[in-house]
């Protein structure tokens, strides 16, 4: 059986299995009034599942569309776009990204973070350490209008200096508070990143503390 036939069989099996799975989850995808559009959305999700992508973020995207009263076709397009971004994120965050990392990567791509930056974020943490939170903070900063290269530089500096995901998340929260107080996002990031940086060991110390071989 050649590769195409294997993929075809996988798709058929997945499309057969996904509808009962959606029903079992009480999915509101089934609430799409147009039967053809509903079937098309289910097929998109099934195809994504067959490609090894997580179903949960795709269902969430479809549910958002149902809540926002989007047409069935628009929901299908949104689900397909999300699947494409998840697939791209999987390639960029290789070798074995978690579902949270895939979602974080896909959302980063959706706000306009350039694809090579995902690789840089992945490379800034040792293998096995989740980069979901740094990607989430990068996404939030870019959505606020901070230039992507500036946000990336600050976040990867923190990561290489050994900042924890909680410290990086706090950076995002502090920037939000500063922006609410009237600072530009760019200036707020600059100041807050310096504040977090001052709590971290120097680059040399961080390198010395890191387990041998843990850095990619």
């Amino acid at each position: 059986m050649n590769r195409h036939r294997v993929l075809f069989v996988a798709l058929v099996l997945a499309s057969v299995s996904v509808a009962p799975a959606l029903r079992a989850q009480g999915s509101r995808v089934l609430g799409i009034a147009d039967a053809r559009a509903r079937a098309a959305v289910e097929r998109e999700i099934a195809q994504a599942e067959a490609r090894g992508l997580p179903v949960r973020p795709l269902l969430a995207k479809a549910h958002e569309g149902v809540t926002k009263r989007a047409t069935g076709e628009r929901i299908r397009v949104a689900v397909a776009s999300q699947a494409r971004r998840l697939e791209q994120a999987r390639d960029l965050l290789a070798p074995s990204p978690s579902e949270a990392e895939l979602v974080a990567g896909a959302d980063a791509l959706a706000v306009g973070v350039p694809a090579p930056m995902l690789k840089k974020v992945r490379a800034a943490y040792p293998a096995g350490h989740s980069v979901a939170m740094p990607l989430d903070v990068l996404t939030e900063l870019v959505a606020r209008g901070v230039p992507a290269n500036h946000a990336l530089e600050q976040i990867t500096q923190l990561m290489t200096r050994g900042a924890t995901p909680t410290q990086i998340a706090s950076l995002g929260a502090s920037v939000q508070a500063d922006v609410a107080a009237g600072l530009t996002p760019d200036a707020a990031l600059e100041v807050r990143a310096r504040g977090v940086m001052s709590l971290l060991p120097s680059p040399a110390a961080a390198a010395a503390l890191a387990p041998r071989g843990s850095r990619p």
Binding site: R28, H63, E64, K68, V111, M133, P147, S170, L183
Partner: protein
């Protein structure tokens, strides 16, 4: 002369558009419009306006450059270019320095042909709701082969009250460009070759999202032996019709500008603006005020609290990935509608709607597109 200017402007447009395409964060704006200008002592002339603005934010500074061309047959033609670098200070995020250079070329019935170049520097103190600045500028003008120089010192304060901005500024000009000021009705009682002017300016601006309306009042008085007394009011506004398209209008009396070598004129303008670059978020009326905050828990995660200021008699709902996008009714607490949700660490999307209307991001959150033509707010929980 005009074709040469048009070619120069076209080159500027080309450079700006290429640069805009190369850098995602760059913004390019083009404005095209019509105007009526009336120089002192001459009939009003209809004019064509063309302007381009390119803004590129970088890591440590923002570079902004703009050029514009005004043309009205043989009576009025001016091309201007401005380049500004905005530098934040390392010692304090509230200090910013603006350095700029500007140039103009003109052919005016009232004050002749020539060119102008000037440099300016301005130190800003920027607070959350108020700020101040002090600046210095110097320029050189050549008019029909005769050179002159001008200097100015300015200082001002601004304060924000919600959507209302108020600012006041004082500017002291010293200029030897007597043809310009003579054409504008400013005389000296002595044979001094310099004019001293003091401008007191008051600006009131209302900003609502991308829309704005501005009133600007200037009281100009001559100092020492200079006889000048002008009072002018100008109005301008921007109406953002779609994500990329806006209408602009302005009118009033522009006083002679010794720094740029441009004379006094009464004007009315109307133009259209198209923006390129990062696609702005949809324009949405902010009929409700929704704000979100997260109270972080010590062990990770936190409680999202969303408050909406809206009438008691309406339906207010919240949805987000925390509810699998199922709409949840908010509860009335005092004068607010409030929703609370426990969130795991990570990024969450949230939106609120009133009376089954558009889903909107709470205004203090980062806003993202939602694949459905609308928006959602992002919140990251430590």
């Amino acid at each position: 002369m005009i074709p040469t200017r048009l070619v120069a402007l076209g080159f500027l447009l080309l450079c700006a558009s290429r640069a805009g395409g190369a850098q995602r964060a760059s913004e390019l704006r083009l404005e095209v419009g019509t105007a009526s200008f009336s120089q002192r002592g001459f009939d009003a002339e209809r004019a064509a306006l063309l302007a381009v603005l390119w803004r590129r934010p970088a890591e440590r500074w923002t570079f902004l450059t703009s050029g514009n061309l005004t043309y009205a047959a043989d009576s009025l033609a001016a091309a201007q270019g401005v380049a500004v670098v905005d530098l934040p200070w390392n010692v304090s995020e509230r200090l910013r320095t603006e350095l700029g250079v500007a140039g103009a070329s003109f052919s005016l019935r009232s004050v002749g042909r020539g060119g102008n170049g000037n440099l300016f520097a301005r130190q800003h103190f920027v607070g959350p709701t108020r700020g101040s600045f002090i600046g210095l500028a110097g320029g050189r003008t050549s008019r029909d082969g005769v050179g002159s120089d001008s200097w100015s010192v300015d200082a001002g304060l601004w304060k924000r009250f919600g959507v209302l901005y108020l600012s006041g500024a004082l500017t002291h000009f010293s200029s030897s460009d007597w043809p310009l000021l003579y054409a504008s009705g400013v005389f000296t009682a002595t044979n001094d070759d310099r004019f001293e002017l003091l401008d007191k300016m008051l600006t009131v601006q209302v900003r609502n999202g991308p829309h704005d309306f501005t009133l600007n009042f200037i009281a100009r008085d001559g100092l020492g032996a200079t006889a000048a007394r002008n009072r002018t009011l100008t109005a301008s506004g921007t109406l953002q019709l779609t994500e990329r398209f806006a209408l602009l209008a302005s009118g009033g009396r522009k006083l002679a500008d010794p720094m740029r070598g441009l004379p006094q004129a009464d004007f009315v303008t109307a133009s259209a603006r198209v923006s390129f670059g990062p696609k702005p978020l949809p324009v949405m009326q902010r009929s409700v005020i929704a704000e979100a905050g997260v109270m972080a828990f010590a062990g990770g995660g936190g409680e999202l609290v969303v408050r909406v200021l809206a009438s008691e008699s309406i339906l207010v709902e919240i949805a987000g990935d925390f509810s699998d996008w199922a709409p949840l009714p908010m509860e009335r607490e005092g004068t607010f509608w409030v929703a609370r949700a426990r969130l795991r660490p990570g990024k969450h999307r949230v939106a609120v709607r009133v009376n089954l209307g558009e889903w909107r991001a709470p205004r203090n959150l980062a806003r993202v597109r939602d694949d459905y033509g609308g928006e959602a707010g992002l919140v990251v929980v430590p």
